[in-house]
Amino acid sequence: MRVALFVTCLVDGLFPDVGKATVTLLERLGHEVVVPPRQTCCGQMHINTGYAAQAAPIVANHVEAFADADVVVVPSGSCAGSIRHQHAEVAREHGRPGLADAATAVAARTYELSEFLVDVLGVTDVGAYFPHRVTYHPTCHSLRVLGVGERPLRLLRAVRGIDLVELPGAETCCGFGGTFALKNADTSTAMLADKMSAVTTTGAKVLTAGDSSCLMHIGGGLARLRSGVRTLHLAEILAAT
């Protein structure tokens, strides 16, 4: 299958290894990866901070960048959620005529990575090897906006050598929330502190999730504490051999 990768702005600029791992994984499974050159960002930061009108040209750019793609894969539950549940509405209110329909069409062909692997490709064992103790944080938007459910855990359980341990209070938000982390920094940090203490009680050496944004927040806190726990995106574990 020919897969168009929407790498996301955060991965492109700050976490290129997550993008490389996604490419490695999809190619190892026998698929052709393309990276449409016009892509930038889904615009979620603008939409969720109250700047939907400013987000409209970003949405328009995204829709045009992926207009010809058969299938779009995103290594982020949050960006996939925005594309699926916000783009058409932003386009309808602030975009040119026809943009909402085009956005709906792109959204219908867009999958978060674990959805694509499990639902579209029908694989749970991707042939990965990762001999470390790992705990998994289900990010809010993958869990409650997309409803990915057990998919990431099914993929992780099939990884050879992995010691997968349950995270207490896993479904509680880590406190990132986009610009929430800056606008309500003290509340965000209090939520982060509780998430970090849950992570450290597991004894895991690696915390994984399907969103680089939440991992940047939790990982930034864990690094500041010199906790010895590192964060890796789900794609990086699934790409490991």
Partner: protein, 463 residues
């Protein structure tokens, strides 16, 4: 769309900006422990009694549909309610805002010559600031709900819709009772504390002749009012005094008696985590020898109804499942929201009742984690509503400029790639940089990721 003359909500609906108020609350370690324990317990109870119902999803959809019908035909239902209630011998009053509502109630109370009223726990009277207004007229309002009594005797404010003293623990309550009731030899045994409150309140029930209540539901078909409670103290207030004044938000209407079947399942399971609440009182007009008044309050509800993307907030049945589930509320408590309505529902309801200009920070008091929507028994999509309200909120000028610049860069891939390449210069800052405000909010508690040598796209181009 808002029309001229549509009243905005006044009364106890605003406070200090949320980020500052939250920071203050977060410094209180006792408060955080009390809240975590209380909300954790109630979340588990709710989950157990919701999961045991096979038709919860259908009940939830029915609750939302009934409320949506009410909101779409509110004018008709309200007049039907007024006619039914008037026929049963009650007097119906209409109040545009908090000032008008408190004036009506104060006049009704002072006309009886009473210097004291007993109160059934009520959100609407807290919203309009009734106790304060009565006090100014020389009338003492005595709260009879145990938790409201704790709050009142402690000269405090409620921090939760259903459990107003959720921020207090037993030891603190013992101190408050000792001070407020002059009670000696109290222990922090819950039975001893409850008995002290019982003796204190019993004296009030038997001597005070005017009661003020709210209502959980108002039945348009019959003119009936419904109060749902746990302690039976509400029932005492509704039945003993000779004058009963009920203050009811206009969105409390349900069309018919049979609709209670849905809400009396949704409400106790969502709020206290019980299959059924201990006391449900329904009354239709005054009983023999009683005088009954009902004050229907708008206070920003019609203005809320005018917004198609915000009006679903008026479905709320004040169960507080969203408070108990919210990771923000669990850490900050209710006072940080500055309004009678705290938590996620307060963050969407308060700014709509008052107008966004008077509550600009509340729509941002959420990480948009979405758990409030999952647990809401009338399916209010609070996260989407928060995003919608953020769109209407006034913006700091520097933030707006930064957002415009970011949007300009992100809407064109050439500009975006140039910006990302420039970002790699951030490597010069080293491993643990401290950034200037507003980004210092990030680096105070978290390390920044070190910018990579090469962006993903630049790597891709070299393949």
């Amino acid at each position: 769309m808002t029309f001229i003359g549509m009243p905005r909500g006044t009364g106890n609906l605003t406070g200090a900006p949320f980020p500052e108020a939250a920071s203050e609350a977060l410094d209180n370690a006792q408060l955080r422990r009390n809240l975590a324990k209380a909300t954790g317990t109630i979340r588990a109870k709710r989950a157990a009694v919701v999961d045991e119902l096979p038709d919860w999803a259908a009940l939830r959809a029915a609750g939302a549909a009934i409320k949506d019908d009410v909101l779409a035909n509110l004018d008709t239902y309200l007049l039907r309610f007024e006619a039914a209630l008037t026929e049963r011998g009650s007097t119906v009053h209409w109040a545009r805002d908090a000032e008008e509502a408190t004036r009506i109630v104060t006049e009704l109370v002072t006309a009886t010559g009473a210097r004291e009223v007993i109160k059934v726990k009520s959100m609407a009277t807290a919203e309009i600031g009734l106790n304060e207004a009565l006090a100014a007229a020389g009338v003492a309002a005595v709260e009879t709900d145990l938790a409201e009594l704790i709050v009142q005797l402690g000269h405090d404010r409620p921090s939760h819709i259903l459990v107003p003293a959720i921020h207090r623990n037993r030891a603190e309550i013992r101190e408050i009772f000792a001070e407020g009731m002059g009670a000696t030899d109290l222990t922090d045994d819950p039975r001893v504390l409850a008995e002290a409150a019982r003796a204190h309140l019993r004296r009030k029930f038997l001597t005070v002749d005017v009661a003020v209540s709210g209502a959980n539901f108002a039945i348009a078909e019959t003119g009936g009012l419904v109060v749902v409670e746990s302690e039976g103290n509400g029932r005492m207030c509704l039945t003993l005094p000779r004058t009963l004044i009920s203050v009811v938000g206009i969105e409390k209407i349900i069309p018919a008696w049979q609709d209670l079947e849905v809400f009396l399942q949704l409400l106790p399971r969502s709020s206290t985590g019980e299959r059924m609440n201990p006391y449900t009182s329904v009354w239709t007009g005054p009983t023999e020898g009683q005088t009954s008044h009902v004050v229907l309050v708008d206070n920003g509800r019609t203005a809320t109804l005018a917004d198609p993307d915000g009006r679903a907030a008026l479905r709320c049945i004040r169960c507080s499942a969203c408070l108990n589930s919210c990771p923000v509320y669990e850490r900050t408590g209710g006072h940080a929201y500055g309004s009678t309505y705290p938590g996620p529902i307060g963050a969407v309801l308060s700014p709509q009742l008052t107008g966004i200009d008077r509550n600009p920070t509340l729509p941002y008091a959420s990480s948009l984690c979405g758990v409030c929507y999952d647990v809401c028994p009338v399916a209010i999509d609070i996260p989407s509503m928060l995003v919608h309200l953020r769109g209407r909120a006034p913006k700091p000028r520097a933030e707006a400029a930064a957002m415009r610049a970011a949007a300009w860069a992100m809407s064109d891939h050439r500009r975006w790639r140039r910006l990302l390449r420039a970002g790699r210069l951030g490597r010069a800052l080293g491993r643990r940089p401290m950034l200037p405000p507003p980004l210092s909010a990030w680096t105070r508690a978290r390390d920044l990721p070190e910018p990579p040598r090469q962006t993903f796209r630049d790597w891709w181009d070299t393949r």
